[in-house]
C-alpha cells in the first residue's frame, strides 16, 4: 500500500510539480537523495522526499527501469461536454484540475455548443449506447437526465454524493434525480427570465396583464417598435416558453407521475390562448416570433427596439456590452409574469454532470466530478464563464457580485424555475409539443391542437 502511494508521488513529480519545488534525482540513476537542496526543507518534506527517492530506487530495480513507474501513472479519464466559454474555456478548467493533483489525468472532448443541443445529444447517446466506458464523465442537458438514467447509462451517485446533495438548490437536485436516485450532479443553472427596459417609464410587471398594458404603452408612445419578444419557432425553445406560460397559470404538461398528461386541461389551454393572443389580439408580439428562436428575438431587444424580452441569462452580458448593445444600463431582469393569483414559472435549463455507468474508472470519475462541482470550481465557472452556480452558498459570494453583477438578483428566478416534462421519452414528447403548439399559435385552434397533443403524448409515455 505504502509502496503504491510512493509511486504516485513519483508521478506527481514527473507531471505537475515544478522542478524547483521538489527536485528528485533521475530515477534511472536509482541513487541516494543527494540532489536535494539543503535549505528550506522542513522535516516532513524531507521524509517525503527521501521516501520518494527510495521508492524510485526500488521501483527502478524491481520493475526493470523507470518505464514501469510511468505505467503505474495517473488514471486516464475522458470528459465530454458541450462547449461553453467566457474569459476561460472548459479545457482550461480541466487543465486546472489536471494540474491540481497527480492521480487523475482528464482528457476533454469538446462537443458542439449548447445551441446545437440535438447534435450534442446525438453524440452522447451514440457513445453511451456502446457501453464501453467512454467518455467516463459527461455533461447533460437537464432534459436528458431521465432518459440517460432510464437507459442505465448514468451511474447512480447516491453513495458518493448523498451528504453533499443538500448544498445545492433543491430544485436542481430534484431535476437530477430519477425514480428516487441521484443520477446527475448539478453543474450550472439557467432558466427563462424577463428582460425589460427600465428607461421607458414602467415598473417591472408581475402579471401578464401588467406586461400587456406596459408593452402597449411603450409601443404607442413611440419609444419602441415591439412590445414583448419571445420564441415560437418550431423547436425546443418553444417548449421552454410553453412551460413558463403554462406554469405561470398553475398548470403542467405532464404530471409528476410521468403518465398523466395535463396539456389539454384548463390552465394549459388558457396559457396557450394567451400566447396566441399576445400575437393576434393584443398585438404586442410580432408574428415573426413564429420563426424566431433565441438569437433572432434577442437582436431587436439589444438594438433598443423592444420593451420586453423572454430569454436566457446569456443575453445579460450582450445587453451590457458597448460594442453589441444600444441598451447598456437600460435593462433589468425579473422573473416572468404570471396569471392572477398564480406564481411565476420559468423553464429550468442548464447542464449537469453525469458518470458513465460503464466506466471502469469509477473512483477517479467521482473524484473529478467532485472537484468540478466543488464550491471553488463553481465560483470559477461563474466568474470566468458566466455560468450560474447551483450551490446556494456560492451564489452569495462577493466575487460573483463583483464579476457578474447580473447573477445574484436572479437567485429568485432560478428558485422558481420548473422542469420540462420529466420522462425518459422526452425527445419524442418534445417533438409532439413543438408541432402541435406551433399549430395552435398559427391557426388559433388551441383546444383542438392541445387535445391532439394530449392523445399523442399519452400514447408515447404509456408505451
Amino acid at each position: 500500500m505504502r509502496f503504491s502511494a510512493h509511486l504516485e508521488y513519483v508521478d506527481m513529480h514527473k507531471n505537475a510539480v515544478p522542478p524547483n519545488t521538489l527536485s528528485l534525482p533521475d530515477l534511472s540513476a536509482a541513487g541516494a537523495p543527494d540532489g536535494l537542496p539543503a535549505s528550506g526543507v522542513n522535516r516532513r518534506e524531507f521524509i517525503k522526499r527521501t521516501g520518494l527517492a527510495l521508492a524510485g530506487a526500488t521501483a527502478a530495480s524491481t520493475f526493470v527501469g523507470p518505464r514501469r513507474v510511468w505505467a503505474a501513472g495517473p488514471v486516464e479519464l475522458t470528459f465530454a461536454s458541450a462547449k461553453f466559454y467566457g474569459k476561460q474555456t472548459i479545457a482550461e478548467v480541466v487543465n486546472a484540475f489536471n494540474g491540481s493533483q497527480s492521480k487523475i489525468h482528464v482528457t476533454y472532448k469538446e462537443l458542439p455548443p449548447p445551441s446545437s443541443s440535438t447534435e450534442v445529444h446525438q453524440t452522447l447517446v451514440q457513445q453511451l449506447a456502446r457501453r464501453n466506458g467512454d467518455p467516463d464523465v459527461f455533461t447533460q442537458d437537464i432534459i436528458w437526465i431521465a432518459e440517460f438514467a432510464a437507459a442505465k447509462w448514468a451511474l447512480p451517485l447516491d453513495e458518493y454524493f448523498k451528504d453533499s446533495a443538500k448544498d445545492y438548490f433543491s430544485g436542481m437536485v430534484q431535476a437530477c434525480t430519477w425514480q428516487g436516485k441521484l443520477t446527475a450532479l448539478p453543474w450550472f443553472v439557467d432558466s427563462g427570465m424577463l428582460y425589460y427596459r427600465k428607461d421607458l417609464g414602467f415598473n417591472a410587471p408581475t402579471s401578464w396583464q401588467e406586461l400587456i398594458a406596459s408593452a402597449k404603452q411603450a409601443t404607442s408612445s413611440g419609444g419602441v417598435k415591439f412590445g414583448f419578444l419571445w420564441q415560437a419557432k418550431q423547436a425546443e425553445v418553444l417548449v421552454c416558453d410553453l412551460v413558463s406560460f403554462i406554469g405561470s397559470n398553475g398548470g403542467a404538461i405532464l404530471q409528476p407521475d410521468g403518465k398523466t398528461v395535463s396539456i389539454a386541461d384548463e390552465p394549459a389551454v388558457e396559457a396557450v390562448q394567451l400566447m396566441r393572443d399576445l400575437i393576434n389580439k393584443e398585438q404586442i408580439t410580432p408574428s415573426d416570433v413564429l420563426s424566431w428562436d433565441e438569437e433572432p428575438s434577442r437582436r431587436p431587444f439589444t438594438a433598443g427596439e423592444a420593451a420586453f424580452l423572454r430569454n436566457w441569462s446569456y443575453v445579460w452580458k450582450i445587453a451590457q456590452s458597448d460594442a453589441e448593445s444600444k441598451v447598456v444600463d437600460k435593462v433589468a431582469v425579473v422573473p416572468l409574469p404570471h396569471f392572477p393569483n398564480k406564481k411565476s414559472a420559468a423553464a429550468l435549463g442548464g447542464y449537469q454532470y453525469g458518470i458513465n455507468a460503464s466506466s471502469k474508472k469509477r473512483e477517479g470519475a467521482v473524484e473529478f466530478v467532485r472537484w468540478m462541482s466543488s464550491p471553488e470550481t463553481q465560483l470559477r465557472f461563474a466568474t470566468q464563464l458566466g455560468l450560474c452556480p447551483t450551490r446556494a452558498a456560492v451564489f452569495d459570494r462577493p466575487e460573483i457580485a463583483k464579476e457578474q453583477a447580473f447573477m445574484q438578483p436572479l437567485k429568485d428566478v432560478f428558485l422558481g424555475a420548473i422542469p420540462r416534462p420529466v420522462t425518459p421519452k422526452y425527445p419524442q414528447v418534445t417533438l409532439v409539443l413543438q408541432s402541435e403548439v406551433s399549430r395552435a399559435l398559427t391557426n388559433g385552434n388551441v383546444k383542438e391542437a392541445l387535445q391532439t397533443a394530449k392523445e399523442k403524448i399519452t400514447t408515447i409515455v404509456k408505451a
Binding site: T118, H121, V125, Q234, S287, D288, L290, S291, S435, S438
Partner: protein
C-alpha cells in the same frame, strides 16, 4: 504409353487454364464489389431490417415487429403531411429550375461579349454551401429587416411587411425560391452542355426555310435537347427530393409543420427521438418513392431514345 502421356498433358493444360481464365475477371471486380457492398448495399439492407424492428436507442426495446412500423406510418398524419410537402417541393423546384435554367442556357449558348465571364459567374450560387445560402435567404426574407420586404413595400406591392418564414402559407414557397436561386445554375450548365451537342447547321437550315426563331427553338432544338433535359430534370428531382439543409436552418419544419419534409421528419425521428425502427421505416419509404420517381423519368427517357432510333 508415351503417346498417351503426351495426350494427357495436352488435355490437362486447357483444363487448368480454363477455370483460371474464367475466375480472373471476378477476382478483379472483388474489391469494387466489396466496396459497393459495404458502403451501399449493406446500409440499405440494414435500414430495411431496422425498419422491421422497434429499436429505440435509448431504451432496451429491440424486437422484430414485422410491418408494424409501416402500419403506423400509413396512419401517421405527420408522415403524409411531410410526404406531400416533399413532392410539392420537388415538383415546384424542378419545374422552375428547368424552365429558368433552360432560358439561361439558351442565352449562354449565344455569342456575346463577356460570355466566358457570364458562364463562370453563373455558377457562383451553386458553389456557395447550402447552409450559407440558407442564412443569406434568412436575412433577405427576414420579416422585419429583410430587403425583400423593403423593396416590395417601396414599390407599393405589399401594404405591410410579410412574415415569410413565420406564416404557413409563405414558408414553403420562400424555401423553394431559395432553392431555385441556388440550383438553377446547375441546370443551366447541364442544359448548356446538351445544347452544344446540337449542330448549329440544323437551326440555320430551318432559318433558311423561313422558320421563326420560336419555331426553330420549339420544333428543332427542343426535341433534340429532350434527352439532356430529362436527365438533368431526373438528377434535379432526385436531389430536390432529399431537401434537408434549407428547411433545417430556416424553419426547422415549422410553423405548424408547414415546411416539414421527409428528410427533416426522418432526421427528427432518427436522431432526436432515436427511434431507429420507425425512422428507418420513414427513410425506406423515401427510398421507395425516389425509386418510383426515377422509374417514371426512366420510362420517358426510354421512350424518347426509342423514338430517336426509329
Amino acid at each position: 504409353m508415351p503417346i498417351a502421356k503426351t495426350m494427357t498433358h495436352a488435355d490437362l493444360a486447357p483444363r487448368f487454364k480454363l477455370p483460371r481464365w474464367r475466375l480472373g475477371p471476378f477476382v478483379l471486380v472483388v474489391p469494387a464489389l466489396v466496396f459497393v457492398g459495404a458502403v451501399s448495399v449493406y446500409p440499405v439492407l440494414l435500414g430495411l431490417w431496422l425498419s422491421l424492428r422497434n429499436t429505440t436507442l435509448s431504451s432496451p426495446e429491440d424486437a422484430f415487429v414485422g410491418l408494424a412500423n409501416y402500419q403506423q406510418l400509413l396512419s401517421d398524419g405527420g408522415f403524409w403531411n411531410a410526404w406531400i410537402h416533399t413532392i410539392e417541393f420537388m415538383g415546384a423546384s424542378t419545374l422552375l429550375e428547368t424552365v429558368v435554367g433552360l432560358g439561361m442556357a439558351l442565352v449562354m449558348s449565344e455569342r456575346f461579349l463577356g460570355r466566358g465571364v457570364v458562364r463562370a459567374a453563373v455558377l457562383i450560387p451553386w458553389a456557395i454551401p447550402t447552409v450559407v445560402t440558407s442564412k443569406m435567404f434568412g436575412w433577405l426574407f427576414d420579416g422585419q429587416h429583410g430587403i425583400v420586404n423593403y423593396l416590395l413595400r417601396s414599390c407599393g406591392l405589399i401594404p405591410g411587411n410579410l412574415n415569410w418564414y413565420g406564416s404557413p402559407e409563405l414558408a414553403l414557397p420562400t424555401i423553394i425560391i431559395a432553392d431555385v436561386w441556388k440550383t438553377t445554375p446547375f441546370m443551366a450548365l447541364l442544359l448548356l452542355a446538351g445544347l452544344q451537342t446540337i449542330p448549329r447547321s440544323l437551326s440555320e437550315a430551318a432559318a433558311i426555310d423561313g422558320a421563326s426563331p420560336w419555331k426553330r427553338f420549339w420544333s428543332v432544338r427542343l426535341p433534340l435537347l429532350a434527352p439532356s433535359l430529362l436527365i438533368a430534370a431526373l438528377f434535379r428531382a432526385l436531389d430536390a427530393f432529399r431537401i434537408f439543409d434549407l428547411v433545417y436552418v430556416l424553419t426547422g419544419g415549422g410553423p405548424a409543420d408547414s415546411t416539414e419534409v421527409l428528410s427533416t421528419l426522418t432526421y427528427k425521428n432518427l436522431f432526436s427521438a432515436l427511434q431507429f425502427g420507425y425512422g428507418s421505416a420513414l427513410s425506406t419509404t423515401m427510398f421507395v418513392t425516389e425509386i418510383l420517381v426515377a422509374i417514371g423519368f426512366g420510362f420517358f427517357l426510354l421512350k424518347r431514345f426509342r423514338e430517336v432510333q426509329l
